[in-house]
Symmetry: C2
Subunit: 346 residues, 2 copies
């Protein structure tokens, strides 16, 4: 090791992954796509590809057990991974689950966690095929790997967007982030006075989006039914803005999106205003929506027009135009990706 010391926060998560994996070469002809998309792609036959993705959730970083029921946590940990398979336009089939826990957890707590994992497996028709359970000196760590399949000709990468393609998002955005704000506020209130009852009434939608998100398998089926193959796709885990930058970087394009087109539920907007947050900021930078963001050729527009699950929010431009947001007054503003940086702060 050299004497030089570079802080992790100097690079951020994506810069760090780039730096750590840059020297690696490919040895196996079956590896079609390695690091750098929502999932890796491996050839398994002339026609079919295997999709592989892995994501870890850590207590104190990705969740707080003060307000996350273990059953929901198990469910969500599976969703986070399935979402990456669907973002490749594939169908998830299996998962492995590695858990590290401290002895402060009784077996019954882990049974709750696995009940949530089982619920996700049963509902999404996937098999738990392996794992590892070990002790941890401090918090709970859940690391899941998901495997999926797709016809090779169906796989959608981040890199296929072309200038003038339409940018489409599923569902609505920002709700999971506002759910998190509500839970964090109640946690502070509870810490100050454990006798106060939580004030979460009427916010079921926001809480459910945070605590029990659903991965959009239905969109993979819908796109097939509509006979639309996106030109590029990514899931929204770190926030819309951050994901747009990933698509643009991989596809070597720019992008223009329209503030007023971004789908935001009325409950999200109301909660945002209550917290003095601009709703569009929650949608752009909140993260954890687990919706899909994709581009389609303009010639496919008629196939998706009017579908309540899909909203066109902008279009791809040439790379030199950059990534921009048109605000409600028609002004063109350069977009910034704040997203999540797990290495900043704490």
């Amino acid at each position: 090791m050299t004497d030089k010391r570079t802080e992790l926060s100097d690079l951020g998560e994506f810069g760090l992954i780039d730096k750590l994996t840059q020297g690696f070469t490919t040895h196996v002809p079956q590896t079609i796509k390695g690091v750098g998309d929502d999932a890796a792609v491996i050839s398994i036959s002339d026609e079919e590809a295997l999709l592989v993705t892995t994501d870890a959730l850590l207590e104190g970083v990705h969740f707080s057990l003060m307000y996350t029921p273990l059953m929901h946590l198990g469910y969500k940990a599976v969703m986070v991974n399935l979402s990456d398979i669907y973002a490749m336009n594939g169908i998830a089939q299996q998962i492995t689950v590695s858990i590290a826990v401290s002895n402060r957890f009784p077996v019954e707590a882990l049974e709750e966690l696995y009940a949530g994992i089982k619920k996700a497996c049963d509902f999404y028709k996937i098999d738990l095929i392996g794992g590892d359970t070990t002790t941890s000196l401090s918090g709970l760590v859940i690391s899941i790997t998901a495997l999926g399949r797709a016809k090779k000709s169906d796989v959608v990468y981040r890199s296929g967007a072309k200038e003038n393609d339409l940018l489409v998002v599923t569902g609505d955005l920002g709700a999971a982030y506002m759910g998190l704000q509500l839970l964090e506020r109640e946690k502070e209130v509870f810490k100050a006075n454990p006798n106060i009852q939580p004030d979460l009434d009427g916010n079921d939608y926001l809480l459910e989006r945070q605590l029990k998100p659903e991965a959009r398998r239905d969109i993979v089926d819908l796109l097939k039914a509509l006979e639309v193959k996106p030109t590029s796709m990514i899931d929204i885990s770190d926030g819309l803005a951050s994901e747009i930058f990933h698509l643009c970087k991989a596809s070597k394009t720019g992008c223009t999106i329209y503030d007023e087109k971004v789908p935001i539920d009325a409950k999200t907007s109301m909660a945002a205003i209550e917290f003095n947050i601009d709703p569009i900021t929650a949608a752009l930078n909140g993260g954890e929506d687990y919706e899909l963001l994709f581009t389609i050729s303009q010639s496919d527009y008629d196939k998706i027009a009017g579908n309540p699950n899909l909203t066109v929010i902008g279009h791809m431009t040439d790379a030199n135009s950059g990534v921009n947001l048109v605000d409600k007054n028609g002004a063109l503003l350069p977009l910034k990706a704040q997203g999540w940086n797990h290495f900043s702060g704490s």
Copy 2:
């Protein structure tokens, strides 16, 4: 959650996995074997199977950074997973690597870790295809998933051993455990007086077995060359005794092994005696050897006889005879599997 509280240590690692995964059902026809072997087995074509395994290493539980160079740690974390693929008689092809680190690690430390991972990938001809890098509130966590392939007809499970099959082990046992004892002793000496130079001279073999083990890919090739397909196989990660119990349980057999047949290097024996440990105890219960343990039909004996990599240490019996060790005096003693239980103690 019920009010009942069962401690994790009451069940142990394997009992816990059994309990947590018992209610899961299979939804996907391609899943051939899920939880319960060294790796899961998934059908990918008429002839071929995909093998999947996952294992996590945690600081303070599986390794101490006081004496584990990060490059070796990266290398070893890969070996632990490849070993499980080879134990299915398959060839490893890809890995994903998830890392959680606290901000106390500089980027340069992670570069060392990844240099070890790259060395393993280059030497074993496997591709790094994905991963996840996140912050941890305390120690370093490395979770790896390995993928491999085998012809379906070549896959070897734990469950295929038959009465009278010969039990064979590769290499020699107990060295990694004695290497760990040496390192732990030096750690205590160093803590007491940081100016004392470490006394590790002449113990290179034991230290290398602990710090930089090699997974036995060569054995998969050797068995093919010898035209031997084992009837059952497992890798030795938790100690010979524990693995024998796994084979017997899965195959519904008993087993008799001979103390004096168990291959132990002279350096291992000398170190064991210095530590007042019976060398056979280090071999039976030490763990982390990453050798392969397998059974073959007696009719295959001539094919392996005299091979310096392979030692016959006993034979399988009927289940009612139990698992026994014949000691140097010819006495038959029931074998106990101590192995590693990551939930006991600490």
